[in-house]
């Protein structure tokens, strides 16, 4: 097998799925470093985002790329409402209570998706898309857009966290919550802002997953493990680490099919996660706060 085949059939799909994992892992890392719990409804929030975009495509007759920002806004709103309805009451309790509650929220969100959109696979557009060929490398538009959208969203988040007043407040809350309160930062606003960003990122991950593969009620849930693996791999609390982790997990999953049956793809993420926890539990980039 030549280098071009490896690039076309393993590396490119790996980078694409890796970009999708990265979008999810960034959200996981944000929740972990600011709210300090593992959010198990993350994948199903992505599913919700994907299907909300499908709603915009079928009802509004728009392209999935126009539906993407709509789905991001709606999912952000849903994330804020879920927080207010379920997690806000548990904030003073041990964090494991919220982790378990998020598992319940995951099941609930998935059930809503199944009730509204059914259990069959769906797609945004029908027909086969022919890839463009660049120096022998075959790329579809949607693959390029996925990769660049991920880069754009992560860069925007980075600038927001580093430069803006409220971005700095989020970093402060993640760094030293007590001192942030003593400085007059309104905890509730930071939590809400976190959920707006996380909801938007979840929707983006879901829409790009649906665009490159297909929409299923279980699509987000099956993505949960690779997303967590990516966040831990990169070092929890590190946005750039989550991106790196997402790409590594995605590429490793695709490359694993060179040696292993495709059914073992999901096990690759798990293997990477275990290996990382054994060798370097702090992650590639040492885990820290935002």
């Amino acid at each position: 097998m030549g280098a071009l085949e490896i690039i076309n059939f393993y590396l490119v799909p790996g980078i694409v799925i890796g970009s999708i994992y990265a979008l999810g892992a960034v959200g996981i890392t944000l929740v972990f470093s600011i709210l300090r719990y593992a959010h198990l409804a993350h994948g199903d929030l992505a599913t919700l985002g994907a299907f909300l975009a499908l709603g915009a495509v079928t009802l509004g007759g728009v392209s999935p790329y126009v539906a993407l920002p709509v789905a991001m806004v709606l999912t952000a709103a849903a994330a804020v409402m879920i927080d207010k309805a379920f997690y806000a009451y548990l904030r003073e309790r041990p964090k494991i209570v919220t982790v378990m509650a998020s598992l319940g929220v995951a099941l609930m969100v998935r059930a809503i998706v199944q009730v509204v959109w059914g259990v069959d696979s769906e797609t945004y557009t029908r027909g086969i898309v022919r890839p463009d060929v660049w120096f022998g490398i075959r790329l579809r538009d949607r693959e390029l857009i996925t990769i660049f959208a991920m880069i754009g969203l992560v860069l925007a988040l980075h600038v927001f966290l580093q430069q803006s007043k409220w971005g700095k407040a989020m970093r402060a809350m993640s760094d030293n919550p007590d001192l942030a309160l003593l400085s007059g930062v309104d905890n509730k606003k930071v939590v809400m802002l976190t959920w707006i960003i996380v909801g938007g990122l979840c929707a983006a991950a879901g829409v790009f997953l649906g665009l490159n593969y297909e929409l299923k009620a279980m699509m987000g849930w099956t993505m949960l493990l690779p997303m967590f693996a990516a966040a831990i791999l990169g070092g929890v609390g590190r946005v750039e680490g989550a991106v790196l982790g997402g790409l590594i997990v995605g590429i490793a999953e695709e490359m694993s099919t060179l040696f292993l049956p495709t059914e073992y793809k999901a096990a690759t993420a798990f293997a990477i996660l275990l290996l990382m926890l054994l060798v370097r539990p702090t992650g590639l980039l040492k885990g820290k706060v935002l």
Partner: protein
């Protein structure tokens, strides 16, 4: 002289136990007041009570004429009170400058005068403004913590053991900065373990024991007091 802080017969503590059994104190404008006392006397607790960080069951706290008993910490910040905790008092993963910026979180408008003021008080920090606060020495970190609190231009600055774990050189420097800050019209209340040095430098002091007032007076008077000396100044 107008009193910035008035605390009357404060009773309160963590959980069900009352650490404070009726503590009263006051601090005038542009005055340094030091709280000393043996371990477990309730020094830090009294300070946290001002900032609404524990259950107050009796008594009252007034800042500049406004009663703030039972307020949320962020409202107390808005009322012009800043508190520097003894430990984890900086944002470690943020730069020195960003720490100051967080201190001014509630302020709007041009902050350049506030930055200038803090960097004039702490020239060391100006040099290291791009460094992460977590990478600084203990003394420099204490300066970041104080600088962060001063960014809000508070009326009342509360310092919980600002010299704990610092070398004598830094201790002297921190005390000098407190005097400079006082001379700009800020009232400072601080808790100190180094009772002798603290009483020598403060305008007035309170000696607490077992959660209640034991002595009060000017620093010099307290240092000369036989009972205070016997209690904890090491004879």
């Amino acid at each position: 002289m107008s009193d910035i802080l008035v605390m009357r017969d404060l009773v309160g503590g963590y959980g069900d136990a009352n650490v404070l059994q009726g503590v009263s104190m006051r601090a005038a404008k542009a005055e340094i007041v030091v709280i000393v006392g043996p371990n477990g006397a309730g020094k830090s607790t009294a300070m946290k009570a001002i900032f609404g960080l524990l259950k107050v069951r009796g008594g009252s706290i007034t800042v500049d004429g406004t009663e703030i008993t039972g307020w949320e910490p962020n409202r107390i910040v808005e009322a012009g009170v800043c508190y520097v905790p003894q430990v984890s008092n900086v944002f470690r993963e943020m730069t020195v400058h960003e720490n100051l910026e967080m201190g001014a979180f509630l302020r709007t408008g041009d902050l350049s005068a506030a930055y200038d003021r803090v960097y004039t008080l702490f020239p060391d920090l100006k040099e290291r403004r791009k460094a992460l606060a977590g990478n600084l020495s203990g003394g420099q970190r204490q300066m970041v913590a104080m600088g962060r609190a001063l960014m809000l231009e508070p009326k009342l600055l509360l310092l919980d053991e600002p010299t704990a774990g610092l070398s004598p050189r830094y201790m002297e420097q921190i005390f000098q900065i407190c005097r400079d800050v006082r001379d700009t019209g800020v009232t400072i209340v601080l808790v100190e373990q180094h009772a002798k040095q603290a009483l020598a430098f403060a305008d007035r002091g309170y000696v607490l024991a077992a959660g209640a007032n034991r002595h009060e007076g000017t620093g010099a008077d307290l240092l000369a007091d036989r009972d205070v000396a016997d209690m904890f100044l090491g004879g």
